[in-house]
């Protein structure tokens, strides 16, 4: 089947996801979708609206409310040649399928040399006053589980390209898509080459010589805004976006630090054992002699997400908080 590619201007993040799924399903008949309410209803966020009509009930399957059962069944089918893409209704619910993911799917290749081409789409993140169970950023759980790949795109073009690569990848990929970006972020889909697997990517989205900022997902957008403000103060931030968290492409980060001698990591996930901690450790291992100050982390506190939007906003790193964090990093 032709490897058709959607090329469009000004595409919403959520549409990029739909396009990627549809294009990959047209391209590869072994791709199948599973999830709660994804068939007739098109999913909680309508990403698979119309898919049932185009691809039929065998390839677009509503599942019962059974995250563990669904991930397990997808894993078994993947071992024997299917390419299931599961939609978690909300990323938070992955905890109910945790064992299947970290023990069965993640370890399968190492244990048995059977590959598990499985994608789990994870609508995650906060900013919408959705409370403690519809707002979490749980990437660390999976970064700590060898065998999984972890993707968290910030831009529509990356979202499209990486979802297609994730589906082609012979390994289980946890694909974090940020709900706050769904209907806010727009980028052109230009028809760049689609990889046949997910590889580490660290993209410089803005260059600067004073401080290296590392972020992913929604936070990259706040970081870019904050970098504008700092530029007005004469401080140039180098913004590195990580659309792929695992495998990690560390080299561009180290190269940037060699130039800036300062680094700050911004993430929406809670602080302790967040990916920022691992990045800080790697940077210390590899580049501590290039640093002119401590590695700073600008993160959510170690707290569940409150329902009240004001309370929530107080916890998510804001543009101001990010700027303050950078100023402190540069003072030290």
């Amino acid at each position: 089947m032709p490897n058709e590619m959607t090329i469009e201007e000004n595409v919403l993040y959520i549409e990029a996801l739909s396009h990627a799924l549809r294009d990959e399903m047209r391209h590869d008949p072994s791709v199948m979708l599973m999830g709660q309410d994804i068939a007739g209803h098109g999913g909680a966020f309508k990403i698979t609206k119309g898919f049932l009509d185009e691809f039929g009930p065998q390839r677009v399957r509503n599942t019962p409310i059974a995250e563990s059962g669904t991930i397990g069944i997808a894993t078994g089918a993947a071992i024997l040649g299917q390419r299931p893409v599961i939609e978690m209704q909300f990323a938070d619910f992955i905890s109910c399928g945790f064992n299947q993911l970290v023990n069965v799917a993640a370890k399968m290749y190492w244990r048995t040399e059977c590959s598990v081409p499985l994608v789990i789409r994870m609508p995650g993140g906060g900013g919408m006053g959705a409370g403690a169970f519809h707002s979490q950023n749980v990437e660390s759980w999976f970064l700590h589980s060898p065998g999984l790949k972890v993707v968290a795109p910030a831009f529509s073009d990356d979202a499209y390209r990486l979802l297609r690569s994730a589906i082609k990848d012979p390994n289980p990929v946890i694909y974090f898509e940020h709900k706050f970006l769904y209907r806010r972020e727009r980028t052109d889909l230009k028809g760049t080459e689609i990889g046949d697997r997910v590889v580490g990517e660290a993209n410089v989205r803005r260059s600067g010589q004073h401080l290296t900022s590392i972020s992913w997902g929604w936070m990259t957008h706040r970081v870019l805004e904050a970098a504008e403000i700092m530029a007005a103060e004469g401080i140039e931030i180098e913004v590195i976006d990580l659309p792929v968290l695992s495998p990690l492409d560390l080299d561009p980060i180290l190269q940037s630090i060699e130039k800036t001698e300062h680094v700050a990591i911004t993430h929406e996930a809670t602080r302790t054992c967040g990916f920022g901690a691992e990045l800080a450790a790697r940077i210390s291992d590899e580049a501590i002699w290039n640093l002119d100050g401590p590695v700073r982390r600008i993160t959510y506190p170690d707290s569940p997400s409150p329902f009240n939007k004001k309370l929530e906003a107080d916890r998510i790193p804001s543009v101001d908080v990010i700027c303050d964090g950078w100023r402190q990093a540069l003072q030290s």
Binding site: Q58, G69, I71, G76, Q100, W110, R111, C114
Partner: protein
């Protein structure tokens, strides 16, 4: 089965155990059926006895015995064919050996020349499979996981021979959805192949038992889950595990077929399995089989969990050893003599001894930390 409640067919029971009609088999070549079951049961028994002995001498650090489960597992795997998926657990040596090995190529005199086989063996090299299986048990480089995984925790695929075997992870219940997923892949490919999976009665209490069976039934997957009910889970008796009369009746709650069967009777077990496989192949969905077997050994070799089993109960299990039952049945029906049975036992034991010794002499894996966590 979805639009028919689970009690509409004779093989669906929520009610008391059905005595399976073994008589039909006895009329039509029962001696052949018995001989075939017996051959693999004996091979399995000798397989286990060998490792139990090695455990006692300290040559092996851990062993979960399949002794007592041979009739149920050999009969279950006798109902599947090339291209079907076997998903096994820790007491399923019988199913694995039945599926992997053409015993006639290893012990040519084991069957008479005019024998009608219940199931065709897979092609390929049986001796090599047996040898690699022994290497796997002993953590050797030539094992199916090259020493990285324990005993039955491995997969083995030989697509050219239609061998699909997915082994277990430790977490009980986890493999039920995975096995149902193998069945889903067959449904997606519009093939008539089926997946069978085993579970102990203890692990029927897990969430994955419920989630896996429910989805399998809603999607009518060609899937058979066999509960090997030995009435004990480590030290926990069924009275502390579940409060229903029997586990087969849970099938009613899932809208699928459920059958309770004497797992010490390989002919009855095979009949139940054949019906279940037929149901699955013809698109009628999954079956839950509850096979009652005896608790012959402790949870794992060397622990004292068997002490928890009351003396009378344990005696009942030992008196109904499926190996003794089938051999007595064969002798009483004049199929073979005691002397012949002893001869076959010795041949199986010698074969296992030879293969395991050979595996013992094989190299252990070199220390490495570069085994890939990702497929390329």
């Amino acid at each position: 089965m979805m639009d028919q409640p689970a009690n509409s067919s004779p093989s669906n029971t929520g009610a008391p155990p059905e005595v399976s009609p073994a008589a039909a088999w006895l009329d039509t070549g029962s001696d052949h059926a018995l001989r075939e079951m017996h051959a693999y049961m004996r091979l399995t028994r000798e397989w286990d006895l060998r490792y139990e002995k090695m455990f006692k001498t300290g040559a092996l650090s851990k062993w979960y015995s399949s002794v007592g489960n041979e009739a149920a597992t050999v009969a279950a795997a006798s109902a599947i064919e090339k291209g079907d998926a076997l998903v096994s657990l820790h007491r399923d040596a019988g199913a694995i050996l039945r599926h992997y090995v053409n015993i006639e190529t290893l012990i040519p005199e084991i069957f008479p020349s005019n024998m009608n086989l219940i199931r065709q063996p897979l092609g390929g090299d049986s001796r090599e499979r047996l040898f690699r299986l022994a290497c796997q048990m002993l953590g050797r480089q030539h094992g199916y996981s090259a020493g990285h995984e324990r005993s039955y925790h491995y997969n083995h695929m030989e697509p050219e021979h239609g061998l699909i075997h997915i082994g277990m992870i430790s977490h009980l219940g986890s493999m039920i959805p995975v096995a149902a997923g193998a069945a889903l892949s067959f449904q997606q490919q519009k093939s008539d192949r089926v997946a069978i999976n085993f579970i102990g009665e203890g692990a029927t209490s897990t969430g994955d038992f419920h989630e896996g069976l429910n989805i399998a039934s809603v999607w009518k997957l060609p899937f058979i889950l066999i509960i090997e009910n030995n009435h004990w889970a480590f030290s926990t008796p069924t009275s502390q595990q579940y409060a229903c009369d029997n586990l087969a009746s849970r099938a009613i709650g899932y809208g699928m077929a459920g059958v309770e069967v004497d797992g010490n009777d390989p002919i009855a077990m095979h009949q139940v399995m054949q019906e279940a496989v037929q149901r699955a192949r013809s698109g009628e969905g999954p079956t839950l089989v509850e096979a009652h077997v005896g608790r012959h050994r402790g949870h794992s070799e060397g622990d004292d969990s068997l002490d928890q089993v009351p003396g009378d109960e344990l005696r009942g299990y030992l008196e109904n050893d499926p190996m003794d039952l089938i051999e007595t049945r064969m002798v009483n029906s004049g199929i073979v003599s005691r002397a012949w049975l002893e001869e076959i036992r010795e041949k199986c034991a010698a074969l296992i001894m030879e293969v395991v010794d050979e595996a013992m002499s094989m190299p252990e894996p070199e220390p490495n930390s570069d085994r890939s966590i990702h497929a390329e």
